[in-house]
């Protein structure tokens, strides 16, 4: 007979143990993906196909979202800056916000929702319908043939989508700041050009988006491969991909920002 305290500890311990086991399995899975990656990258047409599905088909949502986020940033930023007589710095505010933070972070969140969930569902359904087993029995390694190209397709697409998001956001900021609110176009662009540092801001933003792409792609392929082969299992895995990706993106963002911009 166990007392309530030990039962409570057990109920706390089981999920922690399971999470650690899953994390260990995910690490081993990553190693197996990296091991077969030269094969996947040598047959680059496989990765190109995944760049099309994960990257190109996500362009619309990235472009529209980037544009709207940039417009909202400009509207909100102008209201604040004009109080301090610094409305001409609107371009700097929009560009730094997007390039350093919002481009990589919101781009990655959108990528996880649009492409990450699709990758998980596709791999999960391939598992449920024995397509991965069929591949194994044909002496074709499914990790090399299916998983690695999807993983690298995601890793390559993510920074490009984040860059597109930032570019569209800056354009949205320009539309609101210059075309709608009447700021001087020369001042908008020149202040942005002088204040945004290539290495500190742009490169760090790109590094962030590569890290997010790596994390989201790994979560998406792992959850698909690990999904129980049932309808419920695949739907749960798809949900986990979006939720886990969002948490990992935001957590990684805190860490990376602390390292990059505060020198911690």
């Amino acid at each position: 007979m166990t007392n309530p305290l030990s039962r409570a500890l057990q109920s706390l311990g089981a999920p922690v143990t399971n999470a650690l086991i899953k994390l260990g399995f995910a690490c081993r899975f990553l190693v197996s993906v990296l091991k077969v990656s030269p094969f996947a990258l040598c047959r680059f047409s496989l990765t190109m196909r995944e760049i099309w599905f994960a990257g190109v088909l996500s362009v619309l949502i990235i472009v529209v979202s980037g544009l709207f986020v940039g417009m909202v940033l400009a509207l909100q930023g102008y209201e604040t800056l004009v109080r301090f007589g610094a409305s001409s710095s609107l371009g700097v505010l929009v560009a730094l916000s997007l390039v350093r933070e919002l481009g990589p972070v919101i781009g990655a969140l959108l990528f996880a929702s649009r492409a990450g969930s699709a990758i998980t569902a596709e791999i999960g359904l391939m598992k449920a319908t024995e397509q991965l087993s069929a591949m194994e029995m044909m002496a074709v390694n499914p990790v090399a043939r299916v998983v690695a190209p999807k993983f690298w397709g995601g890793v390559i697409s993510m920074p490009l989508l984040a860059a597109l998001f930032s570019a569209m956001g800056i354009f949205g900021g320009y539309l609101v700041g210059v075309q709608l609110l009447g700021l001087d176009a020369g001042s908008f662009w020149s202040q942005m050009q002088s204040a945004v540092d290539f290495r500190l801001d742009v490169v760090n933003g790109v590094i962030k988006s590569v890290c997010f792409g790596f994390a989201v792609s790994l979560i998406a392929v792992f959850e698909g491969y690990d999904a129980p082969p049932t309808a419920e299992g695949v739907s749960g895995a798809t949900t986990r991909t979006v939720v886990t990706s969002a948490l990992v993106i935001l957590g990684l963002d805190v860490l990376l920002t602390a390292f990059m911009f505060r020198g911690i």
Partner: protein, 263 residues
């Protein structure tokens, strides 16, 4: 070509195969029969190395599958072809590309040769006219026949069939049975057919094993099986509801469950 030597296997605490021993020789078509959950599909997965035996040895062409590393396992699978229960066609590829898949992945053949081979295999299963269709456009039986064409694409030495006759119309059923037999005779390999279809399988196989509770309970040639007085074989062949294999899973009495009488 395939030998099970005192093989035991289970999922978690649940035993599926218990000290199973059987052998399939070159040139033979062997049927594995048994009720649902008797371990038939598990047996195929042990041959393919997708599962590993807990005890005992599974030998394929003399090599112990249980001791193979990943590289040798993939090498061994080059000798195998497997028809899955529901076809397992790649849903993003056309019928043509599905059959061409193993040829392109493993064969390194010129595309003109791949085309000829694909059309030959599709012709063999009567679906050359469906080459450009997608799997979603096929009926269940057609999908199974395409999967068969894909499984035999590289003329494997050992063919594994998981319920090849399920869902086929009578014409396709007869043709598929004949195809399994002719393919095996032409290649001189071995075929293992996991099936419930007694009539069709007894017409084409050389030997039959009956599995129950993870062990071989009866075996013999089709003639021996037809003449058998073994209760399990009789029940299976005559599709009798009563016999050593219960139709109902263990449960409380029906009347008690319906609250018609007290426990």
């Amino acid at each position: 070509m395939v030998v099970f030597d005192d093989v035991s296997f289970g999922y978690g605490e649940q035993p599926v195969l218990r000290d199973l021993s059987l052998r399939i020789d070159r040139g033979q078509v062997v049927a594995i029969m048994g009720g649902s959950g008797s371990g038939k599909t598990t047996l195929l997965k042990l041959i393919g190395g997708q599962l590993r035996a807990r005890t005992g040895r599974v030998l394929v062409d003399g090599d112990d599958v249980g001791t193979m590393n990943e590289t040798t396992l993939y090498g061994m699978r080059r000798k195998l072809g497997m028809l899955f229960q529901f076809g397992a066609l790649f849903t993003d590829l056309s019928v043509y590309d599905n059959v061409a898949f193993p040829l392109r992945e493993r064969g390194k053949l010129p595309e003109s040769v791949v085309r000829d081979l694909v059309l030959m295999k599709l012709h063999a299963v009567g679906l050359r006219g469906a080459a450009q269709l997608m799997p979603a456009e096929l009926s269940g039986g057609m999908a199974r026949r395409v999967a068969l064409a894909r499984a035999i694409a590289l003329d494997p030495a050992i063919m594994l069939y998981d319920e090849p006759f399920t869902g086929l119309d009578p014409i396709s059923l007869g043709v598929t049975g004949q195809l399994i037999r002719e393919l095996n005779d032409a290649l001189g390999g071995a075929s293992i057919v996991v099936t419930h279809d007694v009539a069709e399988s007894l017409a084409i196989v050389d030997y039959v094993y009956f599995l129950a509770d993870g062990a071989v309970v009866a075996q013999g040639t089709p003639d021996e099986v037809r003449a058998s007085t073994h209760p399990f074989v009789k029940q299976f062949i005559n599709a009798e509801p009563d016999g050593p294999v219960p139709f109902h899973r263990d449960a409380e009495p029906y009347a008690t469950a319906l609250n018609l009488e007290r426990p």
